[in-house]
Subunit: 244 residues, 2 copies
């Protein structure tokens, strides 16, 4: 196992850049912290190599492994509590994306915590696909990965143009249900179907008008006080209704 | 209107301390930022005085008002985007607490974002009372107040011992439904009732065994994958079912 102690080591500098979206996107790589997420990444066949902090041992199997100093681990780690184990992973290839039949569409959901929580709920309720618009928070940020608790690795997740995806769903005869506060039906009046795509929008502005116009149905979640719900809560309530 | 330009002014030093829970608790005071929350605080009769940044005007009515320098506003403000308006408020008196008939009980929910989101959902779904155990995140922290979007000011909210509160609810014949992953009934099998108290637990450990034992019923939210949900999502799903 190769040891790295210098913070200016070329590999360390490359890995450290994966804290920023632009470098994750250009290399299509990201980091995961801790045993649980690392094992999920292995199962999803996305792991490239393993970094173990000096003084710790981990059965790395056939994966390339580097022992790094505590200082390097601190430099690469994002979580406050710290970790002694990091996995360097590659993003799944967009060519490998397979559209499922229980789909979540996110239109510019910008808070990483919300995106992560929605992914976690989606997996829990048996959804198989999550499609994010270009301005959604990055699913490969440390915060999102941690809040998904690994759910990210169990579903088809892709960032692309939602309008085209809705066209694909229509071809596959999967109904697209948008969420909106106006000109929509109460959720309790909507029939539950197995194959479905649910569309949720930006924290401040909701789903864009253009996308809502393309939906087969629009629904709102009934409330007592005319307030808005946090988007991750609204998504959870709707996903529970349409759960597998 | 009195002008304050010194960061070491005694009042400024006192207000700055309200960023910390221990000082909020000892003085029973807290700060709110921005027009919307300040107006909610006025309506809830909790506002004591108003701080306006130099160069801005605000109709402060009969409330005491101080014009403060931009530097002081930055010092007192917690939000990244900054604000030019702060309200100094007092907490409602525990003696004035009135138990409602649609109650949320939170057992050591520790993440401020989760507590804030639950308060927001509770208000949206017509719950009138939220009771927090001693180790819950502080509802008067800037982060919670912002994520409640003012909902905090529309409900009875108190921090106290949950076990005693459950006893009070039993006396009032309000059924207490706890949430748990084991030894519980599926939520869809639980009858909807008007008067109800829903009990949610800590992010890692759920509701304590002692409190679950005191519940009239326990329920779980049906999932496809055996995963856990974020507590604010779980609470939202349950509150939607029992909404007013």
């Amino acid at each position: 196992m190769e040891k790295i102690v210098s913070k200016t080591n070329a590999r360390v500098k490359k890995w450290a850049k994966y804290k920023e979206k632009k470098y994750r996107d250009s290399d299509r790589c990201f980091l995961v912290e801790g045993e649980h997420l690392l094992e999920e990444a292995i199962r999803a066949k996305l792991l490239d190599c393993i970094l173990v902090e000096e003084g710790h041992t981990y059965d790395t199997g056939a994966y390339p492994c580097y022992e790094v100093s505590s200082m390097i681990m601190r430099k690469l780690s994002d979580s406050v509590s710290g970790t002694w184990l990091i996995g360097v992973c590659h993003m799944p290839c967009p060519m490998d994306f397979v559209m499922g039949e229980k789909v979540i569409l996110l239109d510019d959901v910008q808070d990483p915590g919300n995106v992560g929580t929605i992914l976690r709920s989606a997996y829990s309720f048996g959804f198989d696909t999550v499609v994010l618009s270009r301005h959604c928070a990055d699913v490969y940020s440390d915060k999102v990965i941690r809040s998904t608790q690994g759910a990210l690795f169990h579903m088809q997740v892709i960032r692309t143009d939602l309008s085209q995806i809705i066209d694909q769903l229509k071809e596959k005869k999967i109904p697209v249900i948008g969420t909106a506060l106006e000109n929509a039906s109460a959720m309790s009046t909507i029939e539950v179907v197995d194959r479905v795509a649910l569309l949720f929008g930006n924290e401040g502005n909701g789903v864009s008008k253009e996308l809502l116009a393309k939906c087969d149905e629009t629904m709102y979640i009934e409330m007592h006080a005319f307030e808005s719900l946090n988007v991750a809560v609204a998504a959870g309530i709707a996903m529970y209704k349409f759960r597998r």
